[in-house]
Amino acid sequence: MTNEEFKQYITGLLPSAVFDETGEWLNVAIDAQSWKPLAQSLRHSQFDFDYLFCLTCIDWKTHLTMVYHLSSTTYRHTIVIKAQLDRTNPEIETVSDIWRTAEFHEREVYELFGVKFLHHPDLRRLILTDDFEGYPLRKDFQDPVNMIKL
């Protein structure tokens, strides 16, 4: 299935979505509130996005961006969804009930970037120790004991 079909489908659901086709895959920029319903429909659409193969976050210093790479094991097509978050209070709905793999990846993003995943079944830290302070993958993370400033 082509990018044009994805664009048509997503615009139908979400007219505010912005598309970018400069990369290998179709990038769709959305706002955080519309992520959950969009994810729900993409999973159950005719495109059959049954595989979330990458879930990560980017710190742009002014805001955070959640990046979701979706793929279909039947049709082998891929799409990238980017949701912009507020840096002071980053919150987004969990998709762990749609793609089970997101449960662990969201916990990782939670401990490294401090993004809160609403309605996550078990939002604990994944690897960091319980007494760790701060979010180490944020650009303004300071650790004078272990890190030198470059």
């Binding site: 690897i127 120790t129 180490p136 650790d143 272990n146 890190m147 030198i148 470059l150």
Partner: protein, 182 residues
């Protein structure tokens, strides 16, 4: 002659004098020297690899390089049966207590080899992070350091032989640092 050459020259053969007599012979030696000689030729390493250096360590254990030729007979999967721990890889803050515990569980005498840039100083890439220990010698004392990322198998063999020479010399870690004979 520098210290290492002196040690090497001194430890080429069995420590002591052998006086052949009809029907046998007499060995004159120091008991400590014989113990060190025996120890240095039977050093069993602990299977401990935390990253890519471990692959090189496995290569040294396999038939192409084969550290068994020098007395590093079999890698042991438990610290209680091991004499030397080869730290092959990055030590992160969460791994450090485990490394310390393994070292404490090893029976004396025990020796440590820091293999590769990560074990020496935290590594060529990941040193400036919140999670990496900047050198395994922050956690346990190290006898031999091997630079490289990862070091060649020959470098590990060289380090193992250097450790044997160190043991044969009969000096403790502290004495070697100060280069004072016992």
């Amino acid at each position: 002659m520098d210290v290492r050459e002196e040690i090497r020259d001194h430890n080429k053969d069995f420590p002591g004098e052998i006086h052949p007599t009809p029907g046998g012979g007499i060995i004159v030696s120091k008991f400590n020297d014989i113990v060190n000689w025996a120890r240095s030729n039977s050093l069993w390493p602990l299977t401990f690899a935390t990253s890519c250096c471990g692959i090189e360590m496995m290569s040294v254990a396999s038939s192409k390089y084969d550290f068994s030729r020098f007395g590093f007979e079999v890698a042991r999967a438990t610290p209680r049966q091991a004499d030397v721990i080869i730290i092959a890889g990055t030590i992160v803050n969460k791994m450090a207590p485990v490394l310390k515990r393994l070292y404490d569980q090893m029976a004396d005498p025990k020796y440590v080899i820091a293999m590769g840039a990560c074990a020496i100083s935290g590594g060529p890439f990941f040193y400036n992070t919140y999670s990496v220990v900047k050198g395994a010698d922050h956690v346990i004392p190290v006898d031999v350091y091997i630079p490289g990322c990862p070091p060649r198998p020959e470098a590990l063999l060289h380090a193992l032989i250097a450790l044997q020479e160190k043991i044969k010399s009969g000096w403790t870690r502290e004495q070697i640092k100060g280069e004072k004979p016992a």
